[in-house]
């Protein structure tokens, strides 16, 4: 609660007059909002705003941040539902939206939009409707994509409102309808710009109905005349234009500009692209002027001069003109117009408007510059600003300049020509600074209403040109001026038709001040007005009679003295002047009802030039200036606050303007209330208007509407500014590129030049080259001829030398031949010498040989004789030896034959024996083979036998075990039995039995018993029973011992005895049969027997002669014995009574013996 109270206090302090407190409170609120997320504060702020219309609250609300938007929208929505607060709520909404908050995209989802649409569809209050439509139009570019779902709602609203404009079902004041119409037109533009296809189809369907046809004809058709065909109508489709992609890359200002592009209105349309070459060119001409006016309010008026003289520095000239042609008396009537002109400037310039409420603005300075006299009357006006504060005055007054300038051209041009604008600056060194300063301040102000100024210029232009054209004859002009004006006139005349109605439609300021319907109805009058402006004013005015009360109200405004009757009267003349001079503008652009009074006033005020007019205009800024400097407290509190702000210049000029308008409105209402009723009623009722109270209300509403319109236009301007900044950057870039291009071109040119010069030098060089070549050719030809000659010479010489050489060769050959011959001759000489020596030697030899030959011949003779002697001796000796030799030969032959025969025999024998050997060998091998087979077989058989034997043996062993077991059993049984008997019988009986047994044992063969007993004992021992080792000794000892032993022992012994006895008896049978053979040798047939016998013989040392025979016999018997052997051995085994156990061993050894013998035998066989 404390919080609440606190907040209440804060609210009360919010609109405090102390600036610092205000700022503090605002800061506190903002802090609160930042920290608190609840809706309370926002709601309270909204409430507070709706109650008090506090600017501070509005300020805070319009800068609300993200989390509070929902609360704000909800709250606004809530109040929207109530009819009472709807209007203010809408204006609040408008304020908020125009700020373009960061959460603007949420608007499309908010219920607020729906309720706004609903309100627009159902509400009947024009003010609310207009405001709402403007809000909607402002909102549309922000939510282009999401707004599409309400498209038909928008269209529906358009349809409703357009028909409303025509039919006026609420029968509201016409002036409201003007506003409504304007907003409908804006809506039309917006919808057509954004959704052309859908909108056109809507229009098609909606206005095809008969009942709507009239509306179409009257309202929609004119609108359509001012738009060009939207390119989307050709390329796009209904769906395509609703496509989110289309909107995604467009920002709000893009959308706004897009919409502006399709307008044919030069003020509305954008000149970015070349849709309108004409308007573009116009704009090009205008642009410098438009910029200049922004700089100073003066230029608004003098821009027209600027156009005529094509010098932007018109301001100084004006002042100059004013300075030079000081007083109106000196000047012609036209000059009075001139003097009125600056006054008008101050009137319609924004600074002037501001000046009403905020004196310290530039106009004061301006006026002080122009004339510092007679500030008094104006100050009075300022103190009672009355209806001046309304912007309505501006458009009404704006038209004059062209006409005035037109006039001024006649007068001031010579002077202007004499003193160029630039020079004019210099003569007043004190002023420029002031003017600059003023310019600066003004520029701020000017920014607020650029639309109005531009519109003035634009709308002025054609008229001005028209004037220009008409006045061409009478006025001397510079060539330049002439050319430019021609150009412009061409353009404007071409544009003339569209321009006029546009003026009525486009700029809200015109509309607000002048009744549009009138202007619409009078497009035809434009042409006439263009030519004869002053003349045409009357018919126009008469045609505009209807406007009534507004006209009455208008005039005072224009004259700055709406309240004071005398002032009005005094002002009538300038007003009349203005009307008279610029009637064509008013008729064209502002066919307001005020024409009627103006006309009337003109009747008596047209002729006389009010000498103090110019003083007014001068005085007005003067007072303002004073106001600023003194900071007078006479002003109203609000004004003061604003003024403070202005001084500190902490707030933006736009805000100031807002406040100005509002406060002006407040002041206006106050003043109105103060006014004596008759004066009011007299004025209004005179024209048959509505009752005064209504009138006040109407005016208030109108004011409100106007404000709204202004705000809307400002919003548009902001978008344009955004756009401009962007475009400017593009322009800068483009120019940079162009410059770059130019530089490149220059470079290109330079290079081309270079190339050209290079080509030239090349040609020169080529020529020189040709020359050189020719010379060179000549020299070459000469040299060639020389060469040829020389060659010829050389050939001749060559031939000569060759001839000489051949000769030389011949000579050499000859010399060589001669030398050869010489050598040959030498050789011959040597040879002959040699031959000679040889021959001499031979000769000596032959001589010696001859001597020897002689000697030998003698010897031969001697030997012949000796031979003859021996031959004689031989013939004497002859004997017979041949017989003996023959005999010997025969003997030898016979011996040879014998030997041969012998050899033959021997060889035959050899063959035979060899054959025999082969046979024998084969036999041998066969036998070997056989033997091997036999051996194998034998082995096999042996193994078989051994296996079988093993089986048998095991069987035998088993049998032995069995018998042992049996024996054991029997002994056991005996033992038991004996035990039993022992128990029964007496001791003596025992001894008897023992003796009897002993005797029996003695009788039996001792040896046998012994052995058997041993055996049995051994068996028992094997069974694991211990026995005394002594038992084997003798039976007598046994017997003695048995007597001494304990019954148990004796039993044991007896058992052994009995067993031995039993065993003996059992073994007796074989032993009985055996003894026959034991003593004797085994039968001679048996192998063993023979062996034994052999052994015996060996033992008896009776050497046997028949050893070989025994071997033979062995071999003979072997085969037959072998089969019987095992059985025989087996049979004989028991025959060895001493040791039965080794019998198998024996057997095996015998087998082994057999084995060995076998081998022996085979070996023997082999050998």
């Amino acid at each position: 609660m404390a919080q609440q109270a606190n907040i209440g206090e804060l609210f009360s302090m919010l609109d405090s007059s102390v600036l610092l407190v205000q700022e503090d409170i605002t800061a506190v609120f903002k802090d609160n909002l930042n920290s608190d997320r609840g809706p309370v504060l926002v709601n309270m702020l909204v409430d507070y705003y709706l109650e008090n219309h506090s600017q501070q609250a509005l300020q805070i609300l319009s800068t609300l941040q993200e989390p509070h938007d929902k609360h704000l929208l909800d709250k606004i929505n809530e109040y929207m539902g109530k009819a009472a607060t709807r209007l203010h709520t809408l204006s609040l909404l408008g304020h908020v939206i125009r700020r373009q908050p960061s959460w603007k995209h949420k608007l499309s989802q908010a219920p607020l939009l729906l309720s706004l649409l609903k309100c627009l569809k159902t509400d009947t209050d024009v003010v609310v409707l207009t405001t709402g439509v403007l809000v909607l139009i402002t909102m549309l570019p922000m939510i282009p994509q999401s707004g599409k779902m309400y498209l038909h709602d928008f269209f529906g609203i358009f349809g409703r409102l357009s028909s409303w404009c025509l039919k006026n079902p609420g029968h509201v004041a016409e002036i409201y309808l003007v506003h409504l119409h304007a907003s409908v037109y804006a809506l039309f533009h917006r919808l057509y710009g954004m959704y052309p296809c859908n909108f056109v189809s809507f229009l098609r369907s909606h206005y095809s109905m008969k009942e709507n046809l009239e509306t179409f004809e009257e309202v929609v058709k004119p609108m359509m005349e001012h738009v060009r065909i939207h390119p989307e109508l050709v390329t796009g489709s209904k769906d395509h234009e609703l496509d989110p992609r289309r909107w995604k890359r467009l920002e709000t200002h893009d959308v706004v500009i897009e919409c502006a592009k399709i307008s044919l209105d030069p003020k509305e349309a954008s000149y970015e692209d070349s849709y309108y070459s004409v308007s573009q060119s116009v704009s090009i001409c205008l642009q410098p002027r438009q910029i200049d006016p922004n700089a100073s309010p003066y230029i608004d008026t003098h821009s027209s001069y600027g156009t005529s003289t094509s010098t932007p520095y018109s301001t100084p000239r004006l002042t100059l003109s004013q300075m030079q042609g000081q007083l109106p008396q000196i000047l012609s009537p036209q000059s009075t117009r001139l003097s009125t002109e600056p006054q008008q400037v101050t009137i319609w310039s924004p600074s002037a408007i501001c000046g009403m409420t905020t004196p310290p603005t530039s106009p004061g300075i301006v006026s002080s510059e122009s004339s510092q006299t007679s500030s008094q009357p104006y100050s009075k006006y300022f103190s009672t600003p009355g209806g001046k504060g309304t912007p309505l005055g501006t458009p009404a007054t704006s038209p004059p300049p062209p006409c005035i300038s037109d006039d001024f051209v006649h007068v001031s041009l010579p002077s202007a020509a004499a003193t160029p604008p630039k020079k004019e600056d210099k003569p007043d060194p004190g002023r420029p600074s002031l003017s600059r300063q003023q310019n600066v301040i003004n520029s701020e102000k000017a920014l607020e209403v650029p639309g109005s100024k531009s519109s003035v210029n634009l709308s002025d232009l054609p008229e001005f040109l028209g004037c220009l054209a008409s006045d061409e004859d009478s006025v001397e002009k510079d060539r330049e001026e002439d050319a430019i004006s021609k150009e412009i006139s061409e353009i404007t005349t071409a544009d003339a038709e569209p321009v006029v109605p546009r003026g009525g439609f486009d700029s809200p300021f015109y509309r607000t001040s002048e009744s549009l319907p009138a202007s619409q109805r009078k497009p035809h009058s434009v042409a006439s007005s263009v030519q004869g402006h002053s003349l045409s004013s009357e018919p126009l005015a008469s045609s505009l009679d209807k406007s009534g009360p507004e006209g009455a109200r208008d005039t005072p405004k224009q004259a700055f003295t709406p309240i004071d009757r005398p002032c009005v009267a005094s002002d009538e003349s300038p007003a009349g002047n203005r009307v008279g001079q610029s009637s064509m503008e008013t008729s064209i652009l502002t066919p307001s009802p005020c024409k009627v009074p103006a006309k009337r006033r003109m009747g008596f005020g047209s002729g006389q030039p009010p000498s103090y007019e110019h003083l007014f205009e001068v005085a007005l800024p003067k007072t303002a200036y004073l106001f600023v400097s003194k900071k007078t407290e006479e002003l109203l509190k609000k004004v003061k606050g604003n003024q403070d702000e202005d001084c500190t210049s902490s707030t933006s000029p736009m805000e100031v303007l807002d406040r100005l308008i509002q406060q002006g409105a407040d002041a206006h209402t106050k003043e109105l209330n103060k006014l004596p009723l008759p004066s009011k009623s007299a004025d209004w009722t005179h024209f048959g208007g509505s009752p005064p109270s209504d009138e006040i209300h109407t005016l208030r509403n109108q004011l409100l509407l106007l404000h709204n319109q202004l705000l809307y236009e400002r919003f548009k301007r902001q978008q344009h500014a955004l756009r401009n900044r962007r475009l400017l950057r593009k322009v800068i870039k483009a120019t940079a590129l162009e410059e770059h291009n130019a530089a490149m071109k220059d470079q290109l040119k330079l290079q081309e030049k270079d190339i050209h010069s290079l080509k030239l030098s090349l040609q020169k060089e080529q020529a020189r080259y040709h020359q050189f070549q020719e010379e060179h050719d000549n020299i070459v030809a000469q040299l060639h001829s020389q060469i040829r000659q020389l060659q010829h010479d050389r050939e001749e010489f060559y031939n000569q030398s060759q001839e000489l050489q051949t000769k030389l060769k011949d000579c050499r050959n000859m010399i060589a031949d001669l030398r050869l011959e010489l050598k040959k001759a030498n050789n011959k000489v040597c040879h002959t010498e040699l031959l000679l020596s040889q021959v001499s030697q031979k000769l000596s030899n032959s001589e010696s040989v001859q001597q020897q030959m002689e000697f030998l011949n003698r010897q031969l003779l001697v030997l012949g004789e000796v031979n003859e002697l021996y031959l004689e001796q031989l013939q004497h000796k002859h004997a017979d030896t041949t017989k003996e030799v023959e005999m010997m030969q025969a003997a030898f032959r016979k011996e040879l034959e014998k030997a041969k025969f012998c050899v033959q025999q021997q060889s035959q024998r050899l063959d035979a024996s060899q054959k025999r050997i082969v046979e024998l060998e084969s036999q041998l091998s066969k036998k070997d083979h056989l033997l091997l087979e036999q051996k194998k077989y034998l082995e096999d058989v042996k193994i078989q036998a051994r296996d079988q034997l093993q089986a048998v043996e095991s069987r035998y062993k088993a049998q032995k075990r069995i018998t042992q077991a049996f024996e054991l059993e029997i002994l056991d049984l005996y033992g038991r039995w004996e035990k039993d008997s022992l128990l029964k019988k007496l001791d003596d009986e025992k001894t008897e039995a023992a003796e009897a047994a002993e005797e029996r044992l003695d009788c039996s063969n001792e040896g046998f018993a012994d052995s058997v007993a041993g055996y049995s004992e051994e068996a028992i021992g094997r069974n694991g029973e211990t026995k005394p080792p002594s038992t084997r000794g003798s039976s007598s000892s046994k017997g003695s011992s048995s007597e001494l032993s304990t019954p148990e022992k004796s039993q044991n012994q007896r058992m052994g005895q009995f067993s031995s006895h039993w065993e003996a008896s059992m073994l007796l049978e074989p032993s009985t049969s055996v003894p026959l053979t034991v003593g004797s040798l085994p039968s001679s047939k048996s192998f063993l027997g023979m062996k034994v016998r052999e052994l015996f013989r060996n033992k008896s040392e009776s050497q046997c002669d028949e050893e070989g025979m025994t071997i033979n016999s062995l071999s003979d018997t072997l085969k037959s014995e072998l089969c019987k052997d095992p059985s025989m051995v087996e049979a004989k085994a028991p025959s060895s009574p001493d040791n039965p156990s080794p019998s198998p061993m024996n057997q095996e050894s015998s087998v082994g013996q057999l084995h060995i013998m076998d081998y022996n035998e085979t070996h023997h066989d082999h050998s």
Binding site: D940, I943, Q944, D947, Q948, Q950, A951, V952, S954, R955, K957, A958, Q959, R961, I962, Q964, A965, F966, L968, E969, D972, R1022, N1023
Partner: protein, 293 residues
């Protein structure tokens, strides 16, 4: 080798599909056709392949020396064996060690005792451990062999072989087992060691009784094929394979007694696989015997 090339070319695939011993049967028949059977070859064959059951008894008898390698003497030797059996049987009956109601296994035991001369003085004597081994083996053999005489002889010869031929190697087997277990799965060994169960494994059942009573007869006879043919190492691998197969369960058990108890009563459902794996393992570690057929 010539014979080998003549063998059915499908033999390779038989083995892959799992029909072992299709071709082996033929080669065994060829082996058995020889007069004077080649004991060495039969040994190798038996080690390498599982014996066809129809020839198993014959081969065993030959390998154990119950019948000689000569076909001629078979009848005679068998006659002797039969007579011996009857004699011993009769003797035991006479000394009233057995009655008609005596179970066959005990009869075998008494006969064996008698033959080896270890027959106790009376029936009241407690059985010695080796007798229990005999009984277990006899019981298993009784399932395999139908004829009592054959059975007796086989049991008796088998036990004799264990006692004589493997006298030295059987006590070494636990160590060998440990060694191979370390190679195959040392984690298991570590676990067993941690439980101190290594020394308490049922070595008696495994190595002395040759798994008689531990595995069903169908699996047992495949092991015994190898044992009879001269390899007692197979026992180690069977034991190893049992350990590996029941590794998870053994790992779960931490008590040595429990492990032993479990191993003594292993589930009988998958023993064929165990044996097959064991044989593979044996071949892997000891190499496949040379194919002599």
């Amino acid at each position: 080798m010539a014979e080998d090339s003549q063998r059915n070319f499908r033999s390779v695939y038989y083995e892959k599909v799992g029909f072992r011993g299709v071709e082996e049967k033929k080669s065994l028949e060829i082996l058995l056709k020889d007069d004077r059977l080649d004991i060495e070859k039969l040994c190798t064959f038996s080690q390498r392949f599982p014996l066809p059951s129809m020839y198993r008894i014959l081969v065993w008898k030959v390998l154990l020396g119950i019948i000689p390698p000569h076909h001629e003497s078979h009848a005679l030797v068998m006659k002797y064996r039969t007579e011996q059996y009857r004699d011993v049987y009769h003797a035991l009956q006479v000394i009233r060690f057995i009655k008609d109601s005596t179970p066959q296994v005990e009869v075998f035991l008494r006969m064996h005792q008698l033959e080896s001369g270890r027959l106790p003085r009376n029936l009241a004597f407690p059985l010695e451990p080796e007798d229990e081994v005999f009984l277990a083996i006899a019981k298993a053999m009784e399932e395999v062999v139908e004829d009592n005489i054959d059975c007796y002889w086989l049991v008796s010869s088998f036990v004799n072989q264990l006692n004589n031929k493997y006298k030295d190697s059987l006590p070494q087997l636990p160590k060998v087992l440990e060694q191979y277990l370390n190679v195959e799965d040392n984690r298991l060994l570590a676990h067993l060691k941690a439980c101190s169960a290594v020394s308490k494994l049922p070595y008696n059942l495994w190595f002395k009784k040759c798994f008689a009573g531990c595995l069903p007869e169908s699996s047992l006879q495949r092991i015994w094929d190898k044992v009879i043919s001269g390899s007692c190492k197979i026992l180690v691998f069977v034991a190893l394979e049992i350990l590996l197969t029941f590794k998870m369960k053994i790992m779960a058990l931490t008590n040595a007694e429990k492990i032993t108890q479990f191993l003594e009563n292993i589930p009988q459902d998958n023993t064929d696989a165990i044996v097959s794996k064991a044989i593979d393992l044996w071949h892997k570690h000891c190499g496949t015997p040379v194919h002599l057929v």
